[in-house]
Amino acid sequence: MNKRMLFLLAGAMSAVLPAIAFAETQLTVYTAVEAVDLDRYKATFEKAHPDIKINWVRDSTGIMTAKLLAEKDNPQADVVWGLAATSLLLLKTEGMLEAYEPKDVAALDKKFVDKDTPPSWVGMDAYVAALCYNTVEGEKLGLKAPTSWDDLTKPEYKGHIVMPNPASSGTGFLDVSGWMQMWGDEKAWSFMDKLHENISAYTHSGSKPCKMAGAGEAVIGVSFEFPGAKAKSAGAPIDIIFPSEGSGWEAEATAIIAGTANLDAAKTLVDWSVTREANEMYNAGYAVVAYPGVAKQVEHLPSDIASKMIDNDFEWAANNRGAILKEWQKRYDAKSEPKS
């Protein structure tokens, strides 16, 4: 609250001190960052750079990506700040991103930076696949909490698991691509065949399985850590479990849209987005951030999440996404007959 007051005060001050006339640049920034964080990000950045004003356009990852692609021939955004790296990779293959090397990018963990030089996108933080397990409903049904991905295929969980549909949710795809990268095609598909028998529903959003587990609509939600921590703070009787085999993950990242009229301001924003200060800001919600040594433990989450993350190959995932989804839909969508 105090911090918020400070921002308000800062805002008021800059309003009554018109002596320094800034040539204010407006940046249209597309984002999929959680709504609760938007004002904080904007205020913190604008405090550091009062001559640039951020106009957010926010939506979920899927809609934002579709919107950006649909606007390909006449981009409306200057910068994308906080969108899945996989989505940015897709934009890059369409030639939509302006490659730019931010000033202090060398300080970031390498796996959070585009492999090309200069990089087209730079990472902010990561979200990591995790299970949300409802302890109350689990006890009612006499179940034990799973500790690994493999546990999920046990027959006693039949009908109690929800997971995001990889064909409509980025989180769902990071799960599938994570399994395939960990185990190889054959083992991953045979795992999913068995898992499918236990799934009660595939959702369209990645955070929803966790919220469903939190509300007792399901016992186990295959999701990621952020909504788990949030639901737990809200009072959901859940445990957040990181499977022992390791977890797929996705980076949230920043990029400049090619052809922006405000390139200098866009570069300023991207420069700032990789600073220590910015990463401390991301850390308020995300347990893993791109700047090494910054992350502090987030409430309800273990401190060693970074060690659960598998070696994710974004390029492999992007190149094989079409084929994987086609096979997935062939195996599981056609089978999803009405249960009643």
Partner: protein
């Protein structure tokens, strides 16, 4: 020349005498052209772009790529070979695999069976056309220049497909069982929901117009409640009522609410008011003389019902059935929340476009969704030809007589349906006020702190009200004028049919398709209307267009019930059409016009799918916030925002009722 001059004096055999005042006709045609142009720009053109999207296919054009391989020194190059020549020799890629999507990738190493990424061999690749595109890693390369890669990098080279026109997308669609199955599911769900909704709506409308049951005004109010909430809300309510933690879970006897059961119950809930209002309009203007005739002919109750009541409302019933069917088949909010694994066409569009960014396949599904609309249109036209005006200038209004038994049945049924509707709304209200369902049932207002969640907060709520007001004002003007031109103009048959066709289309166009079509059409720098992209104006145009059909049908139903003799009398009295229009037509149809305005208002408040692609920073909307919050799993705040929309619409309805009462007292005294 002579013939032309003499022509007016020749008797026109077998043709109706044209009324005079050709100036009127010209004005009417001019107005029709303006509104027609609006529909073409706001609907026809974007849909055309969408259609062309569904036909734009992607295919790997192997003839467009050439390779060169070096020896182990990496400097001496072998002969230039085209990819299709290599494929003919090796047969590594089948013809089927060449068909792709906009995001298709084909690894270049496929053509080199003895490829090893550790070898010192270098590879060169180039396009033979300027458009041939490939990726080296994630970097897009284009053009006819040779590019040189070591084998480690060449491993990461993938070819991109070239776009062309064709029917491959449709072939792919129908050969994918998971996708094609949705057609059957969607039609089945829509058909069941239509039968149930129309039966219930007809029974209710009949009770309200033909019996003397008490509390008619109250029921009329309650029955229109579902129209005041986004279609996601019944889904949310059903989760709370019958979900795994639901209050009445046991009522389903082990069946899951997620799936067909939930879709049908929810669809009946949200389509009921649409059907009810149309059938009510059709039933409410009855000529008492028909009933008197039936009584004096000693016709039984049942016979009167089947020969007077039903035929009189036939047009309304068919229209209502068409409306309900297409509403269900095109809605994506409800099946998304409650549909479970039961795949539906509209959700498929969502999966294709949002989940996989496959616009082409989304367009294919949209085109398939247009088929029922075109069929419904054909049926509707045939029915309409047989429709005769019920309210002639000599009609006597019908007043029902009390009948204790009948009245009690009607009353009981209305109570039952009302209980169902109120129960759903009450459940949402409770959910919105509870801290953490089902584990912490203390009351809280924290779910109303929208600024802390996805969606745009309270500013979005303000934007929604602005959008709703603008849509109601602009929309009722355009729609009623358009309907009048279609119904009451002579001649120019082809133009009128085309206009009517365009007016019927929006019903069948899923909002999501319309929204996407708008992006493709308006966000094109070559389009002179490009500047409205990202403004409130495009949201208004999109919303008016999206809800054009029902408003148009309401206006048509009202206009149809006016005898064409009014026009004949006016022109024989040498009155210009605008005087007739403003002095007779508008006052007589005022209830319908007000209904159109409020219909547009509440739908602008609740619409989600059409505007979800079109809002910008300054124009976020409350209804989209409901979707986003539910999507993120924040169901309670979603219910809370849904209830805010509901209360706003209730307030709008009350204002509407007040205005209506004041105006109708002046204009409808004759009824």
């Amino acid at each position: 020349m002579n013939i032309d001059l003499e022509a007016p004096y020749l008797p026109l055999v077998g043709k109706r005498l044209r009324q005079e005042s050709s100036r009127d006709d010209r004005i009417k045609l001019g107005l029709m052209a303006v509104i027609g142009l609006y529909l073409v720009v706001a609907l026809g053109a974007p849909l055309f772009i969408m259609l062309s999207k569904s036909l734009s296919t992607y295919r790997f054009d192997l003839a467009a790529f050439e390779f060169q391989v070096s020896d182990e020194t990496g400097t001496n190059w072998g002969p230039v070979v085209a990819a299709d020549a290599l494929n003919q020799k090796l047969g590594v890629v089948t013809d089927e695999e060449l068909v792709s999507s906009s995001d298709g990738r084909l690894a270049a190493t496929k053509f080199f069976p003895d490829f090893s990424f550790r070898s010192p061999v270098h590879y060169r690749i180039r396009g033979t056309t300027a458009d041939a595109a490939f990726l080296a890693g994630p970097t897009l390369e284009k053009g006819t220049e040779w590019r040189d890669y070591d084998s480690g990098t060449f491993r990461r080279v993938v070819l991109r497909p070239a776009s062309s026109l064709g029917l491959e997308n449709f072939k792919t669609y129908f050969s994918t069982p998971a996708l094609a199955r949705s057609i059957y599911n969607s039609v089945l769900m829509a058909a069941i929901s239509t039968v149930v909704t129309i039966s219930v709506a007809f029974a209710l409308a009949y009770g309200l117009t033909r019996s003397c049951m008490p509390l008619k005004g109250l029921f009329r109010g309650i029955l229109t409640i579902p129209i005041l909430v986004p279609s996601l809300l019944p889904g949310i309510a059903l989760v709370y009522l019958f979900g795994n933690q639901g209050v009445f879970k046991d009522w389903l006897m082990g069946y899951s609410i997620y799936g067909p059961i939930g879709i049908v119950i929810g669809s009946v809930f949200f389509t009921l008011p649409h059907a009810f209002l149309i059938i009510l309009t059709a039933l409410s203007i009855a000529d008492a003389r028909h009933y008197e005739a039936a009584t004096s002919l000693k016709a039984s109750k049942w016979r009167t019902f089947t020969t007077v009541t039903v035929p009189g409302a036939r047009f309304g019933i068919v229209s209502a059935a068409f409306v309900v069917f297409t509403l269900v088949i095109t809605d994506f909010g409800l099946p998304k929340v409650i549909g479970g694994q039961y795949s539906m066409l509209a959700v498929d569009i969502y999966k294709q476009v949002i989940g996989q960014q496959n616009f082409e396949m989304g367009a294919v599904v949209s085109v398939i969704l247009l088929v029922p609309a075109i069929l419904a249109f054909a049926v509707d036209r045939r029915m309409q030809k047989r429709q005769v005006a019920l309210l002639s200038a000599r009609a006597v209004p019908y007043a029902p007589k009390p009948n204790a038994g009948m009245d009690r049945i009607c009353f009981g049924f209305a109570c039952l349906v009302s209980l169902f509707i109120l129960g759903m709304i009450a459940m949402c209200q409770i959910a919105a006020l509870v801290k953490f369902w089902p584990y912490d049932l203390t009351l809280t207002t924290k779910n109303f702190a929208f600024d802390l969640m996805d969606g745009g907060g309270w500013a979005a709520y303000g934007n929604s009200i602005k959008l709703a007001l603008l849509t109601a004002l602009f929309g009722s003007l355009v729609v009623f004028a358009g309907a009048y031109m279609v119904e009451k103009t002579d001649g120019f048959r082809f133009g009128r049919s085309l206009f009517h066709f365009l007016a019927m289309m929006p019903m069948a166009v899923p909002g999501m398709v319309l929204g996407l079509a708008y992006i493709f059409f308006f966000n094109n720098p070559a389009n002179p209307l490009n500047s409205i992209y990202g403004t409130m104006a495009i949201l208004v145009i999109c919303t008016v267009t999206h809800f054009y059909t029902v408003a148009h049908l309401t206006a048509l139903t009202a206009l149809k019930q006016m005898d064409p003799e009014f026009e004949s009398v006016a022109s024989s009295l040498k009155q210009p059409f605008h005087r007739l229009f403003f002095r007779v037509t508008v006052p007589v149809c005022l209830p319908a016009i007000l209904n159109i305005a409020i219909y547009l208002f509440v739908n602008a408040m609740t619409t989600v799918s059409a505007v979800v692609f079109l809002y910008s920073t300054d124009t976020k909307l409350a209804s989209v916030a409901v979707l986003n919050m539910d999507d993120a799993g924040d169901i309670a705040p979603a219910a809370a925002m849904g209830m805010m929309i509901f209360y706003t619409n209730v307030a709008a309805k009350l204002v509407h009722a007040l205005i209506a009462r004041g105006l109708l007292a002046r204009t409808q005294a004759w009824r």
